[in-house]
């Protein structure tokens, strides 16, 4: 490949990713700079076409971090419009349901004082706040590669090239990406960031932590009939349609304007290669306790995103020379609460404070260890400590896990004197096809349940077709030789966007199959990068601005 001349831009702090963590970091930095009348330059790049376009969450927001960051958020018009008014937790069986009396719910699961929001809209608003404060916010630009100094420290990132053709050659519209350099680079890519993955390896950040575990969350937004709408209602379920050895459950939140967000999370440590999280979600909606909400309703949007489930014991080292990790990039989500926004925001704010202090002392700090100190003395740490044993206990199955959660969270309030371990990395848990039973999912009815393609349509995802496929394979022969032969091609089922298809190989007329990758469909959930049993799939950033265009997800 020919050498490309790249323009360079320098900043004090560069932030990769415009989710709650990256935006909070940017805002906090500028607030401190303004308060101290110090001029600093902060740049934030976001791969989505606009801030919020790639954000998908539940979401119930616990406003703790927001109260600290922007105390007058109400006056500033933050889109927190629906306080949680009532909540239910149900264990579903195929036809029935068991409601858990609220008194038996662990304290972490109560939601008084929280708001049901669209995290996408919330991020759009945070983005406006950041821009007003003077942050250079650049949606539509990916951080494609990490750049390193000669001493091995992080120098910044290179933004993605635009106009590269499928075969790697430069098209007529080719526009080379540029180098963004900074004293500190904050990686805020969210769950399973693709640069974060590289950094964890390069700096061995997970040496003292356990293997991270993940879940996939699939979500739909509906507009329901006014008579079926109860603004502020929160419903969580566990149990059916998942078998008891699979971790997961649903959420159903009534927002404003007759909208209901409904979603389903499946732990990616599931074992059966025939399981399809998408299909499980579709089936869940048909439960007698659930389906009535959607009677006569209209589906507005669809999407999916992976989330960290590991907790504090999986938190990597947060800093390395030249950069830090904030939010779900590091894994700050509180699993029993199913909330990661407030902790992600707070981690970003803490990193910002540490970075500003370093800038102010005019001392070129290479590694921002002060961020780690602050983190471990903050309420995020306390909160995550208390939550640490819930998710791993579910390796014992739903009922024991639930029982354990009750003991751990109510009896000990999370302060049990032991820490449970996660059993395996998620890509190691699949049974082979001859050990597993096929699952026969019902056909979609096109009213309440849908197929993947008409769902993906509602994510408004798109990718310029003539570009290299961003779902890269380390070895092209592995999908057929191993994934298909051993596991019957699980990627066709765990991808919620129909990206992977095993189809007849038209070059060999012997009925053999090949893997077709429909990269255009991708909704950037990162599940394949996590669950591929051979770890052969490496998700990299496509052209900037490509991917879903979520409205208020």
């Amino acid at each position: 490949m020919e050498e490309i001349e790249r323009d360079v831009m320098e900043f004090d702090v560069l932030i990769v990713g415009g989710g709650p963590s990256g935006l909070s970091a940017a805002i906090r930095l500028m607030q401190l700079a303004n308060e101290n009348e110090q001029e600093i330059t902060v740049c934030l790049v976001e791969k989505g076409s606009e801030i919020g376009a790639h954000i998908l969450s539940g979401a119930i927001l616990e406003p703790t971090a927001l109260n600290e960051l922007i105390p007058d958020w109400q006056e500033k018009g933050a889109p927190l419009n629906t306080p949680v008014s009532s909540e239910e937790i149900m264990f579903l069986s195929e036809t029935g349901s068991l409601k858990t009396p609220n008194a038996f719910l662990p304290p972490a699961m109560h939601n008084e004082g929280n708001y049901i929001i669209s995290l996408g809209n919330f991020c759009r608003w945070l983005g406006e706040q950041a821009e007003e404060l003077g942050v250079d916010v650049y949606p539509g630009f990916t951080a494609a590669n990490v750049l390193y100094n000669e001493d091995g420290s992080v120098k910044g990132v290179q933004t993605g090239d635009m106009g590269v053709q499928r075969d790697g050659t430069h098209g007529p519209q080719f526009e080379p990406g540029m180098e963004l350099h900074a004293k500190q680079t904050f990686f805020a890519e969210g769950c399973r960031g693709h640069l974060g993955k590289e950094l964890k390896e390069r700096f061995n950040l997970e040496a003292d932590s356990q293997t991270q575990t993940y879940g996939i969350g699939i979500k739909e937004l509906w507009e329901v009939k006014p008579e079926n709408h109860q603004p502020g209602l929160v419903v969580h379920t566990a149990g059916w349609p998942l078998s008891t050895d699979t971790y997961g459950g649903s959420f159903l939140y009534h927002l404003e304007d007759n909208q209901v967000a409904v979603g389903f999370v499946v732990g990616l440590d599931y074992k059966n290669p025939y399981l399809s999280p998408f299909e499980e979600f579709q089936r869940y909606k048909t439960h007698p306790k659930i389906r009535d909400t959607f009677e006569g309703a209209r589906r507005i949007s669809y999407g999916a995103r992976a989330l960290n489930e590991g907790g504090i014991q999986c938190l990597p080292k947060l800093t390395f020379p030249g950069g830090v990790m904030v939010g779900c990039e590091a894994g700050t989500l509180n699993m029993p609460k199913i909330k990661g926004t407030h902790t992600a925001m707070k981690s970003g704010m803490l990193a910002a404070e540490a970075a500003f202090e370093a800038i102010q002392s005019n001392f070129d700090v290479v590694e921002l260890v002060e961020y780690t100190n602050r983190f471990h003395h903050s309420w995020v740490r306390t909160e995550l400590d208390a939550a640490r044993n819930v998710r791993p206990s579910f390796k014992w199955g739903l009922w024991l896990g639930t029982l354990y959660t009750g003991i751990d969270q109510i009896l000990f309030r999370g302060k049990a004197p032991w820490t449970l371990k996660h059993a395996h990395a998620d890509h190691e848990t699949l049974l082979t096809k001859d050990q597993a039973t096929k699952i026969d999912y019902p056909k979609p009815d096109g009213v309440l349940t849908f197929d993947k393609l008409s769902s993906v349509f509602l994510s408004s995802t798109n990718h310029e077709e003539d570009q290299p496929i961003h779902l890269t394979l380390k070895d092209d022969s592995v999908p057929v030789a191993i994934n298909l032969a051993k596991y019957d091609g699980p990627e066709a089922r765990f991808c919620p966007a129909g990206v992977y298809e095993y189809v007849a190989d038209e070059n060999k007329k012997d009925g053999s199959q090949r893997l077709q990758i429909n990269a255009q469909n991708c909704v950037h959930c990162k599940t394949c990068d996590i669950k591929d049993p051979t770890q052969n799939i490496n998700w990299v950033t496509p052209q900037g601005g490509d991917g879903p265009n979520y409205p208020n997800m």
């Binding site: 076409s49 650049y138 519209q173 526009e175 265009n549 409205p551």
Partner: protein, 254 residues
């Protein structure tokens, strides 16, 4: 020569338009908005003319809500020199009709005295395909629509137009109003530093009153609904039956 390029802020082409349940229009809140694709082509054409030395300055103008500034900034980042926002609406749901837009553009044209105005052939929201033609009529300038190739030769334009039958070549005298078709060019990707520079380029903010133009609509929208779903037809048993139905029932085969 100065070139004026009007640009409209519309729903991004990759976003599925969703009709509101009260039938008042299409949901535009929290939806990704972009520069109208045909207008992006128009801006690109103007920039290429500037790069070729035919044009000296590119002024972009948008009529709409405050946020149309973003659309103008996109055009500035691509390479336009200066922008004018005519704030004619307070909410995204108010759209200004092509006739009013054309009247405003006629006033801007009088003030700016460009040698040509390049517009998109149509806005992908209301699909009226009208503004350029109306502006040309109001100004009495050459009307050149659906251009897929433009060369400037002194005060004469040689233009290839996309028409139903294929392509048509015409000549037109300057000054002219041109509307851009899809194949005129492929717009460039915006460079990050240029976005930064675009923030510093001048932008005038005006109102329709400044130009003395009445923008009240002539049309009233009584409803906006989803297109009716196509109903499944019948299954035929054989090719013979199919051919028969196509000939004798549907009348689409002779």
């Amino acid at each position: 020569m100065k070139i004026l390029v009007p640009v409209k802020r519309v729903i991004d082409y990759s976003v599925k338009a969703r009709v509101k349940s009260d039938q008042s229009g299409v949901e535009l809140n929290n939806v990704k908005m972009s520069i109208n694709p045909f207008d992006e082509i128009a801006v690109e054409e103007a920039i290429r003319m500037k790069e070729a030395g035919t044009a000296s300055e590119i002024v972009v103008v948008s009529i709409g809500v405050e946020k149309s500034q973003e659309t103008l900034r996109t055009a500035l980042a691509m390479g336009a020199d200066r922008a004018i926002l005519i704030k004619a609406a307070d909410t995204v749901d108010t759209d200004i009709e092509p006739l009013a837009v054309a009247k405003l553009l006629a006033k801007v044209t009088e003030e700016e005295a460009p040698g040509m105005v390049i517009l998109g052939k149509q806005a992908i929201d209301n699909d009226m395909n009208a503004t350029g033609q109306m502006l040309s009529a109001l100004l009495g300038w050459s009307q050149v629509t659906y251009a897929s190739k433009i060369t400037v030769d002194g005060d004469t334009l040689n233009v290839t137009r996309e028409v139903d039958a294929g392509l048509q070549n015409i000549t037109a005298k300057l000054p002219a109003v041109i509307t851009a078709d899809l194949r005129l060019n492929e717009p460039r990707y915006v460079k990050l530093p240029n976005i930064m520079k675009a923030k510093k380029k001048p932008m005038d903010i005006k109102t329709p009153e400044d130009y003395g133009v009445d923008v009240s609509p002539r049309l009233t929208i009584t409803s906006v609904v989803e297109p009716p779903a196509r109903a499944a037809g019948i299954k035929v048993e054989s090719v013979t039956e199919l051919m028969d139905k196509l000939k004798n029932e549907a009348g689409v085969l002779s």
